[in-house]
Symmetry: C2
Subunit: 247 residues, 2 copies
DNA sequence: CGAGCTTTTGAACGCAGTCAACAATTGTGG
DNA sequence: CCACAATTGTTGACTGCGTTCAAAAGCTCG
């Protein structure tokens, strides 16, 4: 089952190809996976801590995030996911969710049964490697976020996050000329960086004042990528992109 | 090749079994993997950022850690690994290292060629799942650390780290009665929690004053596990241990 | 056009960092 | 086994980055 004009897997295949070479046959096998497409509003949980999902969810449109809460209710985002990503691929081999996944914006997502993924992986063993690698890159990104939150001051930390978003959107060709949509709130960016929303706002102001970013509504423009990378102490190697889209 | 009295794989098998059921045949296959055993001093890098390793390293004895540095030299530890762990399993499918792995204490490690791991996984596909799951649990731990560093205050954060160490040592039966060896410095614990060593020291003092921990040299005793879990906002689910060793 | 977010700004506070000195412990060579 | 060096742990004083609380100003969208 596919969705009207945009076959749901185009972006996923593009994403997987950005990290792993796929044959035409393998790509076709991915395209042929049966899916169920759904539209979700913003701020909806897709899966919750403790769940035992029997399917994976593929983002076709919108932003989602992985998050956890402390017992006193503070929220930390652990990852942002964009079109083409499969945020809960790990549920294939870890039955119980240890975190939540929620939409940050209205989203279109496609659900694929674990059973079907396991089948296609058995038939095309290189897909196992591709999916495994994808989960390993997720882990690499967690590590970089840990460095970011643990050891970089707020200004650098936020610049780094913006660099990562730009680099990852480039890999799925959603950036034109340093411009991209970031339809999420400053409070959410604060939760992603372990800061308060007030401080996030102040640092944003400073980044604008320093000419590193320009904002127009939810659209962000980064005029000087080299300067921005330096401000964010950003080295894209941890994203493990085959083509260095971030250069 | 094995090492004298302790076959190198006993602990790894014990560790893998704590997260994945293995058949006798699969265990034997792991035992039969050829390895090269080495002793390393403390503070030695095992692999470095940018390396392209052709082997995995299995800890037989001692503590190692995954770490990264910011461009201005601040260090963040991302994980601690103990006997039985394979800290760089991910190099099987991510050719270029995006982080460093170093010994924190003198260590005995066994190196296994990627080639041999791939072979045994082909022959026993369930081992692929076991190893994959192991890397997914590593990622789950990164997520919890991110929550810890991003959203918990120093006191809770340190208590949480100590809880995790205890729970993981229990899984490989290296804890007796709430007592365990933690032969790493406060400065290293500080790097693991994103704090300064001075503050680490002050919080340690507070934890002692509150009766949550007792220290004697490098030996730590946690008299009241329930209280400690509460102080550390610790819920062991994220470790995905089959048997709930942490209860 | 008004309700409800989201962004922005100010003021005051506090957790944790830095710097510096000293004590305790561990390791090493003689 | 002791003496000395080096590392690790401990404490105090001061500073500062980022938080909290509160209120106002801008947006967005029925």
């Amino acid at each position: 089952m596919t969705v009207g004009s945009h076959p749901p897997y185009t972006l996923m295949v593009r994403k997987l190809e950005s990290i792993f070479p796929l044959s035409a046959e393998e790509k076709q096998a991915l395209h042929d996976l049966p899916v169920q497409v759904m539209k979700l509003r913003a701020d909806q949980d897709i899966v919750r801590l403790g769940d035992r999902p029997f399917q994976c969810c593929l983002i076709l449109e919108g932003y989602t995030s992985v998050y956890k809460l402390t017992s006193d209710g503070k929220r930390q985002l652990m990852a942002l996911h964009v079109a083409g990503d499969i945020p809960d691929l790990q549920s294939l081999h870890l039955p119980v969710m240890d975190h939540n996944i929620a939409t940050l914006t209205p989203c279109t997502v496609a659900f694929v049964q674990h059973r079907d993924v396991h089948q296609v992986c058995e038939r095309y063993p290189r897909l196992t490697a591709a999916f495994w690698r994808s989960t390993l890159i997720d882990a690499s990104i967690f590590r970089e976020w840990l460095l970011n939150v643990g050891r970089r001051e707020a200004y650098t930390r936020i610049a780094h996050l913006l660099c990562e978003i730009l680099a990852r959107l480039r890999a799925v060709e959603l950036v034109e000329d340093g411009n991209f949509d970031l339809p999420i709130t400053q409070a959410e960016l604060a939760d992603a960086t372990g800061l308060s929303s007030v401080h996030m706002n102040r640092v944003f102001k400073a980044l604008r004042a320093d000419g590193l970013i320009q904002t127009k509504g939810k659209r962000i423009f980064i005029p000087n990528w080299e300067k921005m990378k330096e401000a964010g102490d950003f080295d894209p190697h941890y994203l493990h992109l085959k083509v260095d889209d971030a250069a």
